[in-house]
């Protein structure tokens, strides 16, 4: 009596018509209609012409239509690394404002780091975040702390948080403090099949530094940290990942030497992945002055390192573009450079910055889509595709739309971006989460 799933008919609720579907999982790159039914994708079919639409079995009369002519339809973008600041730092951002900004950036799922107050180191905090996220614009996939309070001593309640819904663990904001602790966390997470995300940084090389060491730090008289601050720690992590066979993901990778360690780990067949932020592949230390909107950690790298990062994005060594969206309320950034907190916002400019690389011929469009979709999904051990029965999470974007980013108009509560006033070609045009249009760009 249960119906063998018929090919027809469906009762679509939204028809996204005539867009160029780029689906890395299936290798699709064609102009298609995508029909949604509730929170699922119901059909992906060649555009219906005139009255022929009905031959797809879709009852068009009941479906709303979103015209995607000239746009790319991609699987929903995932941001592996952000800070939503809730609970504890709601003057900088909340789950509500942060996810609204994420939706404006084309993201359908975001992974907030656990450095909130309290730290997300227990199932009750995780559940609290997910409760608040129930009404958020996009999906929230929390990352749990690796150690209690991210203090680098005892393990956090990793298994309980895993049950409550975390997708990875990290002590982000700082590295997992000791090699011994890292080893324990990795042994533990290996058994749970959870990825360990590490903010790689050698504490003593980092101490007191506010930017990358180099010509510019010497010129400005700002304390610099060498690239080895990161790569020394990446080397440690890769070796412990090898020992424990745990999945390791390197957060906001910024140095060529780190990238080479990841590349060689991958060549050895290890499950080591990494992400690069838009600010690291766009800017370099020469862009740093005393404007605190250029202060983040890891700091902007040398031009040579930036070139290596772009190469890594292109050749597949880098798995994901992640924003490290790190809002700080304006007053906290309106201070002397060395007193300002590290971090910049990033949701709303990420795609447009990646498209700059496409326009410059450095990256293919298909690769950009991978870096925002299947790449980050794979880091989390998930799939991401546009196919019947899949969750209706989609990102529609233009590669040509011209616009200027204005921090003052940002959906985020904070304004700390180095890209205020930047002119872009290409933008997210609509964001669909669970079949609902959560963002549409006004044009």
């Amino acid at each position: 009596m249960l119906p063998i799933k018929p090919t027809l008919p469906i009762k679509p609720t939204l028809r996204i018509k005539n867009g160029r579907v780029i689906d890395p999982a299936s290798g699709t790159d064609a102009v298609l209609d995508v029909w949604l039914e509730g929170d699922r994708i119901a059909r992906v079919a060649p555009p219906a012409r005139g009255e022929d639409g009905d031959k797809n079995g879709a009852d068009r009369a009941q479906a709303e239509t979103l015209d995607a002519t000239g746009l790319i339809i991609a699987p929903g973008f995932i941001d592996l690394h952000c800070h939503l600041r809730e609970p504890g730092f709601e003057s900088s951002e909340t789950i509500e404002t942060g996810t609204r900004a994420a939706a404006c950036g084309g993201f359908t799922a975001v992974c907030p780091m656990p450095n909130t107050r309290p730290v997300n180191d227990s199932a009750s905090v995780t559940r609290g975040i997910l409760e608040r996220a129930a009404t958020a614009s996009v999906r929230v996939w929390p990352i749990g702390a690796a150690s209690a309070g991210s203090r680098g001593e005892a393990l956090a309640e990793i298994a309980a948080m895993h049950k409550a819904g975390i997708v990875a663990v990290s002590d982000d904001g700082k590295p997992i403090a000791t090699t011994k602790l890292l080893r324990q966390v990795m042994d533990y997470c290996r058994a749970l099949d959870l990825p360990v995300i590490d903010h790689c940084e050698d504490a003593s090389l980092f101490a007191g530094a506010v930017m990358r060491e180099g010509r510019q730090s010497v010129r400005l008289g700002l304390r610099g940290m060498p690239a080895a601050t990161e790569s020394v720690a990446v080397s440690r992590d890769v070796q412990i990942a090898e020992l424990t066979e745990c999945r390791l993901h390197i957060a906001h990778l910024s140095a060529r030497a780190s990238l080479e360690l990841v590349r060689s780990a991958k060549q050895r067949g290890m499950r080591v992945t990494c992400e690069v932020t838009p600010h690291h592949f766009t800017l370099c230390d020469d862009d740093v002055g005393y404007d605190t909107h250029f202060k983040m950690n890891p700091p902007l790298a040398s031009a040579e390192d930036r070139a290596a990062l772009i190469e890594g994005l292109a050749d597949g060594t880098v798995d994901a573009i992640a924003t490290d969206h790190a809002p700080h309320e304006p007053a906290s950034k309106d201070v002397e450079f060395d007193r300002a907190p590290f971090g910049v916002t990033g949701f709303e400019t990420a795609l447009a910055l990646a498209l700059e690389l496409v326009h410059a011929g450095r990256l293919s469009l298909a690769r950009v889509v991978e870096l925002f979709t299947t790449g980050p999904a794979r880091v989390l051990g998930r799939g991401r595709r546009i196919a019947e029965g899949e969750p209706a999470d989609l990102t529609l974007f233009s590669t040509e739309h011209e616009w200027t980013f204005r921090a003052s108009e940002s959906a985020s509560k904070s304004r700390n971006t180095p890209f205020d006033g930047r002119q872009f070609r290409g933008a997210p045009m609509a964001t669909v989460v669970a079949g609902r249009v959560v963002y549409r760009r006004e044009v």
Partner: protein, 321 residues
Amino acid sequence: MPERLRDLLAIEPLTAEQITFLLDEAKPFQEFQRHPLKKLATLRGKTAALAFFEPSTRTRISFATAASRLGADTMNLQAESSSLSKGESLLDTVRTLDAMKPDCIVMRHSSSGAAAFVASRLEIPIINAGDGMHEHPTQALLDALTVRDRRGSLAGLRVAIIGDILHSRVARSNLQLLGKFGCQFTLCGPAMWVPREFECANQSVRRTSRIEEALEGADMVIVLRVQQERLHEPKLPLDEYILLYQLTPERLRLAGPEALVLHPGPMIRGLEIDPAVADGPQSCVLEQVTNGLAVRMALLFLLIGGGSESDPPKGSTHAAD
């Protein structure tokens, strides 16, 4: 006359022409320091706010004296008595100062870029009296004035800078200033204090860890103070420093009898410099201090002197006030 300065935040953006102009403007104020009555009315009614967010004795007194000799009043803010210790932000503190309507703010701060940050937020002229490890522009100007007096010109001098160059704002400002006059530099000190990036930034800069090599043929030697406590950094044994880098009479002979010795102070005899050198005929240390007054008077006059209606003093035309 070159483009009028609004602030003095750093030497880096200045042209050689602007620097020469500033040094020329300081000339009459140099002579003025020898007058029995050292008071002008030029800046009467003007106020210079001295905001020192980092301990300083000589620079603060020098600016205060310069302002006073021009007839200006000063407002003093010192870190230990300021509201900063109560958690107020730098911006709020200087806005408060600004609301008392001074004509300029002379500021020293331990953060590189602090003067530029304040200048970008306030309308009034800002004079950088030292910002972190970045620049100390009036020090470089007074050094240049001192050397130009003794040597006649700055062009093409061979300059040795000895000590902790990485952390020195004096070194940075001198590299910028003298570099604009085609000077050649040898930077010398323990290798971790002499970053190779200085070399890359400028073709006329070389590094060495041997003081003998740095002094050989030098026209001027800038000896930097050794700061003994450095946060975040392992210490270097002082005996080791003295052994390798102290400027002694024997070492100074390598530079020749005409070579000038400068030190920005405060100077620790027996550490970076041998007392015999500090007090010797090649030492310019006290001239530097006097020239500091002249340079700072010229600067205050140019920045807040109200331009055309008041002319700089010519020789003895000072007001008995």
